[in-house]
Amino acid sequence: MKIPVRNRDGVTILQPTGKITIGIGDVALRDAVDDALAAGSTSILVDFQRASKMDSSGMAELVAAFKKVKESGGEIKLLHLPSNIRDVLAITQISRVFEIFDDEDEAVASFN
């Protein structure tokens, strides 16, 4: 599974599809973030509109991504969280770490 990437006003937008879970979806998310960093992106937005669920392995990749992007001097933010994913990110308090948006324009504009 390869995560689609697009660019808008200097922001790299990743849009994972389906399950961000152990074995496939988690690895795809990691690869997509690594690729974006390798390509020099410092503004990364993950759009979860088409994501269906996320387990603890997906969450592990999400916090790992936060750390990696921060260490490269960039920022990573989240967009369009479905209510079930919003729910588990709240319970695990991961949502305290990330800026989370419901509107793409706002999210893109928020990077400086």
Partner: protein, 162 residues
């Protein structure tokens, strides 16, 4: 979905589901799919099915990854029993167990970036009861329990029919 008569008579009923898988990540989806369908039949609403399904995924994934270290000849087994008004699940692996008390709390500031520890947190958040037992050969047995929702009034049960 079960009607209220079925729920009342549950004491004498047998409703058991077992799923056995070899330790491959993609098999976790089978357990998830089967249990989500079963939980809908038991009368849990969609949001609860989603949450309980995730707790079950985490227990099974731990058996596959940490317990059986993805050795495909080793199995993870789930047993789900509906007794009275409780759904009781048992998830077993053939691993060598672990020290539950040594798992760091994933909610402390220090551990927020720790990749691990959230599976058990989610089980505890979504289930009424979570217990770990370790058999003599070392395998882990996770017990998860959840009360069934109270039976819907007859008036509100239209949607079951489709």
């Amino acid at each position: 979905m079960l009607d209220s008569v079925a729920l009342t008579d549950m004491a004498e009923q047998v409703l058991q589901i077992k799923v056995a898988i070899s330790s491959r990540f993609e098999n976790i989806d089978l357990v998830d799919a089967v249990m989500e369908a079963a939980m809908r039949h038991f009368g849990f609403d969609e949001e609860t099915v989603e949450r309980l399904g995730l707790a079950i995924r985490e227990a099974v994934a731990n058996g596959v990854r940490h317990g059986n270290r993805q050795e495909p000849t080793k199995r993870v087994e789930l047993t789900c029993d509906l007794k009275q008004d409780v759904m009781a699940l048992r998830i077993t692996d053939e691993g060598s167990g672990f020290d539950v008390d040594a798992i760091p709390d994933p909610l402390t500031a220090n551990n927020l970036f720790n990749p691990s520890g959230r599976g058990i947190l989610l089980m505890r958040a979504f289930m009424d009861e979570v217990a770990f037992d370790f058999d003599n050969n070392g395998g882990t047995q996770v017990t998860l329990k959840k009360s069934l929702p109270s039976p819907p009034s007859d008036a509100g049960s239209e949607e079951d029919e489709s």
